[in-house]
Symmetry: C2
Subunit: 167 residues, 2 copies
DNA sequence: CAAAAATCTTCCGTTAACGTTAAAGTCGGG
DNA sequence: CCCGACTTTAACGTTAACGGAAGATTTTTG
């Protein structure tokens, strides 16, 4: 079914602007690099380094050229740390994932934009799906490994407890 | 209850020598560093490095001073890699864990040796138990994180599939 | 508006976990 | 016992992910 002129299918969550904490003038509060680093639990150097690698660009800059971070930026930092700690990925691998996330977000936006062609839309969705599925596989593998590791540990703990109780 | 002169409690698996693949003369086959590295899926350098850090000493040496690795040695290598990949521990942290494993193994051997003092034995067991329990906690935490990560991924995949099916 | 505090860019330093190469010694088959 | 393949130690090199300091600039604060 074509999607050029308004689909009939129940539209999946239109991309709403998301509720924000505006200030009086209506802008979201932006953080300096110091505050952002503190909030995110990383160093300023790390933030600059992520930017250098193209993982994270601050949402805004002052006239003088100082970085200003938004809440979304902080979430992105959290994501980076999670991927580092949880999956042991390096920053280059993480960059790939984040770029794909960004693409998917773009797709979601473009999804409601009639200028986006059906074919292109479909191609992008398939691409995202493939990537997500691949990632799922590696995560699942790791989870299984962790699980059996946990069971071994439990067995070991039981044995130790047993030896102690027998004294 | 004292353990100086033979315990009454049902003895937990006496430390049996474990079934080995002996050769004709009764020795287990030992591998050269090249073969060991190949089997373990690591480089020779890595094996030498682990030894340098005190993580892994080859079970034997030739007269000339060349390293000979046993199957247990290879298992130890596997353990090292597992702790690295799964938990993201560094080699120093792994060294601590392995040393504790070794101590625990010694205790199991000494279990039937009356020369080992009760107090000392108990202290060592408690120590191992503490370490294992701490480790369990961190592993559990990590597993939970991985799990929720996996669920997020699944949700994302579902959404993508949905968008595709609607075309 | 002036001083203090925070940031900017640039560049060199650091640590972990090996990689690589060189020179010398050891092993195993013929 | 000889030679080619494999190992040894020692030493220097490499990469990732920042750490830290310098000197200039910007922002904030009294």
């Amino acid at each position: 079914m074509s999607r050029g002129g308004r689909s009939i299918a129940p539209a999946p969550d239109p991309p709403s602007p998301a509720p924000e904490r505006h200030d009086a003038a209506g802008h979201e509060p932006l953080l300096s690099i110091g505050a952002a680093a503190a909030q995110a639990g990383v160093t300023e150097r790390a933030l600059r380094y992520y930017q250098e690698l193209g993982l994270l660009a601050p949402s805004a800059h002052t006239k003088g050229g100082m970085r200003r971070y938004s809440q979304k930026d902080l979430e992105r930092v959290a994501r980076i740390r999670e991927l580092q700690a949880l999956l042991g990925l390096n920053l280059d691998e993480i960059a790939v994932i984040l770029r794909n996330d960004d693409r998917t977000a773009e797709i979601r936006l473009a999804y409601f934009d009639d200028r986006t062609g059906d074919v292109e839309r479909k191609r992008l969705l398939r691409e995202s799906l493939t990537l997500a599925t691949e990632m799922r596989a590696t995560v699942e593998t790791k989870r299984q490994a962790l699980d059996s590791f946990l069971h071994d540990l439990d067995a070991r703990i039981d044995r130790l407890r047993h030896l102690l109780d027998e004294e």
